[in-house]
């Protein structure tokens, strides 16, 4: 990154401002990225990162500000303009079409055609798609419809889609959110290769670790303003966090580990789920946070859902406080199990309904034993939850879709508090959530266990898992392959258990296609 960094920036945005009705999303932000540079873009959700990207990509039109492309001023009116300038974006929300195959998705809107314009040259398209996949070392058939792919595979296709545009500027918005260590490693190699070819990369991530691993420059946004620009060499995680949040944040996610666990809350015996997951034995005691680790596709989510009763069992016994669980989610919820699902928007919330409705939906029968909905009781309960969870919302009537990721996640958790759950399953609770909220989420989880509940925590964020859990089970090939006590709970040990011939297992089987969002 030395000699390229001194030439004029490849693309530069000067004094960009953008106002949406009621909110100043970007306020006089200047931002530049050099060829062969990885420029990290940090900030909490709502800080303006995505807006900045959309402006750069021509999806939004700025109220003011100018673009310079290798020194020359340019206008970007449409995504088409942006593409012409060689800008490609890997979006955080999947931009894939479920019932088109990989090649068609990779070339969506740029389909190669022969003599007649409208007609797609399939052979060429698949050949080029093949090349894009090979770059990422993905051995997937380009004819596979993406709805048959797992989340991680979809993310990789998303990346291939951007790469295939031979962009000069590549924007990556949370590209690793759904990836396993193994795939992340491969992605980073690729990024380094791209740098060598003089590609400029704008990289958005909540994983500070990555900032230091591949970042050359760091820009922090807060409330639509640029608050700082740093080099990795002369900053620290704590400083960055403070810059992002605007105040000191306690990033120790667990304060006191569970000295002596209480009686068994949940125990699972030789379970086999419809999805094929197996668990010889698993138990969680009162006051414990038990981790469930493994590579993406190892079957963690499937196991969590099986325990919750979401998918039904082929065999096995799940008991809560000694009493067997059977009869699907409604029975489990009644018995006091709560599931914070992996995919918040599709499985956790009714986005068009209000915060109040979402907070109460799981606990309705408990809150209103008479089955009569009493608005007085309801609003009291909701007010109490909102303040206890510190949900930032203008009012309980706010539709959930207008909340930030962190606050949405709090609402999902609040749902279970209101349902009076004694055992909680958290599936990737901090995915796509900024550091500030992360700390709060874990504070809540700790509150739960100190309050005598049991928690099963599924997460790909190994550092978090290690930092938080009292124990952890490790999965591979849809089965639990080991248990790690607090003493030997390290990333290395987890990976050793999980990746045992990682080669084959890093890429999950098809079937868990919950990634494609409509």
């Amino acid at each position: 990154m030395t000699e390229t960094a001194r030439t004029a920036p490849l693309v530069e945005m000067r004094g960009v401002s953008k106002t949406f009705p009621g909110v100043r999303a970007l306020d006089d932000v200047s931002f530049a990225v050099d060829a062969g540079e990885v420029h990290m873009l940090l900030g909490q959700n709502g800080a303006g990162k995505s807006t900045l990207i959309k402006v750069l990509y021509g999806a939004h039109h700025p109220d003011s500000g100018e673009f310079l492309f290798s020194g020359r001023p340019v206008r970007i009116h449409s995504t088409a303009d942006a593409r012409r300038l060689g800008i490609a974006v890997i979006f955080q929300e999947f931009s894939l079409v479920p019932y088109l195959d990989i090649a068609q998705n990779v070339f969506l809107g740029r389909e190669p055609h022969g003599r007649i314009p409208g007609i797609v040259d399939a052979t060429r398209m698949h050949a080029e798609a093949r090349r894009a996949l090979d770059l990422l070392g993905l051995d997937l058939d380009t004819h596979t419809p993406v709805h048959e792919l797992g989340v991680a595979q979809q993310q990789m296709v998303e990346i291939a889609k951007a790469l295939s545009q031979n962009a000069r500027i590549l924007v990556m918005d949370e590209p690793t959110a759904a990836l396993s260590e193994h795939e992340i490693g491969r992605l980073f190699e690729l990024i380094r290769a791209l740098k060598r070819d003089g590609i400029a990369i704008i990289y958005i991530s909540h994983r500070l670790r990555e900032v230091f691993e591949i970042g050359d420059r760091i820009t922090v946004l807060r409330d639509g303003r640029k608050v700082a620009s740093r080099r990795p060499s002369d900053t620290s995680m704590d400083e960055l966090v403070t810059l992002m949040v605007g105040r000191e944040v306690d990033t120790t996610y667990r304060h006191g580990f569970c000295a002596q666990p209480g009686e068994v809350v949940l125990d699972v015996e030789d379970l086999r789920g419809r999805s094929g997951v197996r668990a010889a034995h698993l138990d969680v005691r009162a006051g414990e946070i038990v981790g469930l680790a493994g590579l993406v596709g190892a079957g963690r989510t499937e196991l969590a859902r099986a325990i919750f009763g979401a998918d039904g069992l082929v065999q096995g016994r799940v008991r809560l406080g000694g009493r067997p669980l059977a009869g699907g989610p409604s029975a489990s919820v009644g018995a006091g199990v709560g599931l914070v699902p992996e995919n918040r928007k599709d499985e956790g919330l009714a986005l068009i309904r209000s915060v109040q409705d979402n907070l109460l939906v799981a606990g309705l029968p408990r809150l209103f034993p008479s089955r009569w909905y009493r608005f007085g009781i309801a609003s009291r309960a909701v007010a109490e939850l909102i303040s206890r969870l510190r949900v930032v919302t203008p009012s309980p009537a706010q539709p959930a879709k207008f909340l930030s990721g962190g606050n949405q996640q709090k609402v999902v958790i609040g749902k279970w508090l209101n349902a009076g759950s004694r055992f909680f399953i958290f599936d990737e609770p901090t995915r796509g959530i900024d550091v500030g909220s992360k700390a709060e989420i874990y504070r809540l989880i700790e509150q739960l266990v100190t309050g005598g509940a049991g928690v099963l925590l599924v997460t790909s964020e190994l550092p978090e898992l290690v930092a938080v859990c009292d124990r952890a089970y490790v999965m591979r090939d849809k089965a639990i392959v080991g248990e790690l006590r607090r003493a030997d709970l390290t990333e290395e040990n987890i990976l050793r258990l999980a990746m045992h011939h990682a080669g084959e297992h890093a890429v999950p089987e098809a079937g868990t296609a919950r990634g494609v969002s409509r």
Partner: protein
């Protein structure tokens, strides 16, 4: 999104929902004003009561379907359901007891609704197809059962249900009001109502939140059927006769009323009061066209335009409200 934005968004959404309703009411008022200017026959107590009675027939059918649509479902079989239930009820009344007839009508309506529910929840047939198939099956049974005959001439006390007055107000209007009230209480003041909205907004999230989705769906389809059964009784009493095709013209107006009323086919949004407004608007249009003796051939055209306008206003307001 920052708090300021959220606040803004919220104000826009709420005002949007409310505005939507207000605009629809305004639309109705507008039509009324227009009609009362066009003909002095319109703005009379008797005509307004007359409009209300006709609207109540549509509303009875549409109210149950509204619940189904709130769960992102659809019930195309209501018209056919009304037809069969009315014919069976008619036969039962002829066989002797009015009470028996009423019970028969309600029972057959409810039964058909339950079957719809079971097809959707147990056999997992998409609602559109399940109820469309049911529509044909029920028509077939009705044709077979009636065999082209008409059953007519029922006891006075039964006919009062449809054509009678109480304190100067037609009895169907009371029924409509009762159903509206009951429905309002059910959707707003019971947890089942709230669960129905939750299912419509996101069935999977509702399921994973422990809402017994299948039971609730069965419930709404059964209710939809039951309302069709009730409607069939009122129709029967009003017409004083049952023919095999009695229900055929009911399905599309009922659904139109629901959509004009601002209930979303994608579920989770809408209300019975909206459906009432929709039913009244539709009835007003027909009433007006008769009062002004608009030519027969023009009537579908006018109705179509009105439906489009009504919904467009609603959508436009929501749009501007960013809802």
């Amino acid at each position: 999104m920052s708090t300021a934005a959220a606040q803004m968004a919220r104000r826009r959404v709420l005002s949007g929902e409310l505005a939507g309703f207000m605009y629809r009411v305004a639309g109705v008022v507008l039509v009324c004003v227009g009609l009362s200017l066009a003909t002095d026959a319109f703005l009379t107590v008797s005509n307004l009561l007359n409009v209300l009675r006709q609207a109540s027939l549509i509303f009875l059918v549409a109210s149950g379907v509204t619940l189904v649509v709130l769960t992102a479902g659809l019930d195309l079989s209501v018209g056919a359901n009304v037809g069969l239930s009315a014919c069976l009820a008619a036969a039962a009344i002829k066989s002797g007891a009015v009470e028996l007839g009423i019970v028969t009508g309600l029972a057959s309506g409810t039964g058909i609704g339950l079957l719809n529910g079971l097809m959707v929840t147990r056999l997992r047939v998409p609602p559109f197809i399940a109820t469309y198939g049911m529509l044909w099956v029920v028509h077939g049974i009705t044709y077979w059962y009636m065999d082209g005959q008409t059953i007519y001439d029922f006891p006075e006390r039964f006919r009062a249900l449809g054509s009678g007055y109480l304190l100067g107000v037609p009895i169907p209007v009371y029924l409509m009001t009762a159903c509206l009230a009951a429905g309002g209480v059910f959707t707003r003041y019971t947890i089942w109502g709230h669960q129905i909205y939750a299912i419509g907004a996101n069935p999977e999230a509702a399921r994973l939140s422990g809402v017994p989705v299948r039971m609730r769906l069965n419930l709404v389809y059964t209710l939809s059927g039951a309302m069709a059964g009730l409607a069939s009784i009122v129709y029967l009493a009003r017409l004083n006769s049952a023919e095999a095709d009695i229900g055929e013209p009911l399905m599309l107006p009922a659904i139109a009323a629901i959509l004009i009323g601002g209930t979303s086919l994608f579920g989770g949004i809408g209300s019975l009061s909206g459906t009432l407004v929709g039913a009244i608007l539709l009835t007003l249009v027909l009433n007006g066209m008769n009062l002004l003796t608009v030519g027969a051939n023009w009537q579908p055209l006018v109705t179509g335009v009105i439906v489009l306008l009504a919904v467009w206003i609603d959508v436009a307001t929501r749009r501007r409200a960013g809802g």
